[in-house]
């Protein structure tokens, strides 16, 4: 496939800076490739969507790093990562190992995956659990502030606080509570009952 590396780099930059269009463009360009791959390797449409999402996250983390440099098209990158992720998932579920993946491809794709991807995934799961066990109104306050990027003014207006200062104080308190929950929580990894 022909591609313009400069264009792709620009796209990556927009992607990291959370431009809405960037995700859509990447999706349009690359999703079908990944879908075909997953369908060929025994997955269904939903699997393809999940794997592509994970691959996007991997790319996002990788692209944030200072020494990241794109050497192939984004599609190729996502394809390789998706393949690796899917094989990993298959191996986990079926305990079947794919011999072909242990050689050249493995070396190549392991270079593509940022080494701290799994660490971050772990943090994410832990935080997600903590957030879930955080009660209202803290949950919607933090959610709207961090995920939906609402301004303080909007939070005051929509969630019914007296002024921005009370909202800020409330937010800080909520953060502290979340922190407590976060560190009291057992690591998600240890959740498997060990009997």
């Amino acid at each position: 496939m022909k591609y313009n590396l400069d264009k792709e780099k620009e796209l990556i930059r927009q992607f990291v800076e959370n431009h809405h269009k960037a995700v859509e463009t990447i999706y349009k360009n690359s999703f079908n490739m990944v879908k075909v791959l997953i369908l060929q390797m025994g997955g269904n449409d939903n699997d393809a969507e999940d794997i592509f999402q994970e691959a996007l996250i991997v790319l996002y983390h990788q692209a944030q790093r200072d020494h990241f440099e794109l050497t192939s098209s984004i599609s190729t990158y996502l394809y390789s990562v998706s393949r690796k992720l899917w094989l990993k998932k298959l191996n986990k579920n079926l305990s079947v190992s794919f011999v072909e993946d242990t050689d050249i491809f493995e070396k190549y794709s392991s270079k593509l995956m940022s080494e701290d991807y799994e660490e971050k995934e772990l943090l994410f799961k832990k935080m997600e659990k903590s957030m879930d066990s955080l009660g209202e109104p803290c949950k919607s306050l933090l959610h709207n502030f961090y995920i939906n990027s609402w301004s303080m003014e909007r939070i005051v207006h929509e969630l019914g606080y007296n002024n921005t200062d009370t909202a800020k104080t409330q937010k800080y308190k909520c953060l502290m509570r979340l922190k407590k929950i976060f560190f009291n929580e057992k690591n998600v990894k240890d959740d498997i009952p060990n009997e």
Partner: protein, 351 residues
């Protein structure tokens, strides 16, 4: 790689209470995200903020992605619905027209491809231009008035080869006889016999000629070969006897493929053949006839197309012609086989 840990430690309190400037906040987030988890084991605040950032990023990305996916799915569904409800009639008509075109194309293609197939093969019947035959010479050489008379100075349209399969019945290729007014069989002693077509099989390029001349019938009755009713195998060595000119010509070759790509009733042979050898028998080492030459495959050097004897045999039996079954050539040397066979292979002249 070194990380600005001290600076981050100083700033984390300010970050949590939203007292960092926008620039500093950005830099802080960027630096923090690059620090591995194990370096933050003793820095609970930093680990917490990092988790928060990761959570934020993942969640935002996932939300955006999900909205795109549902957008596309929704749009696709709506689009299909829209197209269907508004273009129902158009689509139906288009489908009908498409169906009709498919049928018409299929029929015409079949029709024309069957025509072209004949053209593809260089038919081996020899076009004779200006072969003048003097009746006087033949009458003089035979001295026999019983032989069929040939008109003086007639021009043969084409010539081919044929061989006897039963008393008075000669098998040859149909295309040799194309548009012939009259057909003559010429034996190795240059004697002419009038022949009539009694059977034509278009699909196999086969014609059966009947000779009613009594001297012919009495002379040629013990046919030494039989027509094999089984198929021959790939690689089998074969030879052929035919009349490209006025003298019998011997060639040999082998079965190059057991089935032609376009015609399953034929072998592809590797065997040199000349115009005029259409209808020549293909004979195996046991003296059995395994096929009949029909044409050349133009793109292959020395490629010859020959109809399988097994198919011809079946077709003949269907038309109640039962070819000779006994074979006296079994185990003989090739020269003897040729010698005994040559009397039963004839030139076919068409006028």
């Amino acid at each position: 790689m070194t990380y600005p840990m001290n600076k981050l430690k100083e700033q984390v309190g300010l970050y949590l209470s939203d007292h960092l400037s926008v620039e500093d906040k950005k830099q802080f987030e960027k630096n923090l995200l690059q620090i591995p988890n194990n370096m933050l084991d003793n820095e609970k605040d930093l680990l917490f903020v990092k988790s928060l950032l990761v959570f934020k990023q993942h969640k935002q990305l996932k939300n955006r992605y999900q909205s795109i996916i549902s957008h596309y799915k929704h749009n696709l569904y709506k689009h299909i619905q829209y197209v269907w409800y508004n273009q129902k009639i158009t689509i139906s008509i288009a489908a009908c027209v498409g169906f009709l075109i498919a049928i018409v194309t299929g029929v015409t293609y079949n029709f024309f491809s069957s025509m072209q197939e004949v053209e593809k093969i260089d038919l081996l019947s020899k076009k004779i231009e200006r072969v003048e035959y003097n009746q006087k010479t033949i009458n003089a050489s035979t001295g026999n008035k019983n032989h069929t008379a040939v008109p003086n100075s007639v021009i043969a349209k084409s010539s081919g080869t044929g061989f006897l399969i039963k008393k008075g019945l000669v098998l040859t290729s149909l295309h040799t006889l194309n548009k012939a007014d009259s057909i003559f069989i010429v034996d190795s002693k240059d004697l002419f016999y009038k022949a009539n077509v009694i059977l034509k099989i278009d699909s196999l390029d086969v014609a059966v000629l009947k000779v009613e001349d009594k001297s012919f019938l009495s002379k040629y009755k013990n046919i030494p070969y039989n027509i094999k009713s089984q198929e021959e195998m790939l690689g089998e060595h074969l030879f052929s006897l035919g009349y490209p000119g006025v003298n019998l010509n011997y060639t040999e070759g082998f079965i190059a493929s057991a089935e032609n790509d376009n015609n399953r009733y034929t072998y592809n042979l590797f065997l040199p053949a000349n115009p005029g050898t259409s209808g020549s028998p293909i004979i195996n080492n046991n003296g059995e006839i395994v096929g009949m030459i029909s044409g050349k495959t133009p793109n292959i050097e020395n490629g010859v197309l020959a109809y399988k004897s097994s198919t011809i045999n079946k077709a003949l039996k269907k038309n109640e012609i039962f070819p000779n079954q006994t074979n006296i050539l079994w185990g003989l040397g090739k020269k003897q086989q040729i010698n005994k066979t040559s009397n039963y292979i004839y030139r076919i002249y068409c006028y």
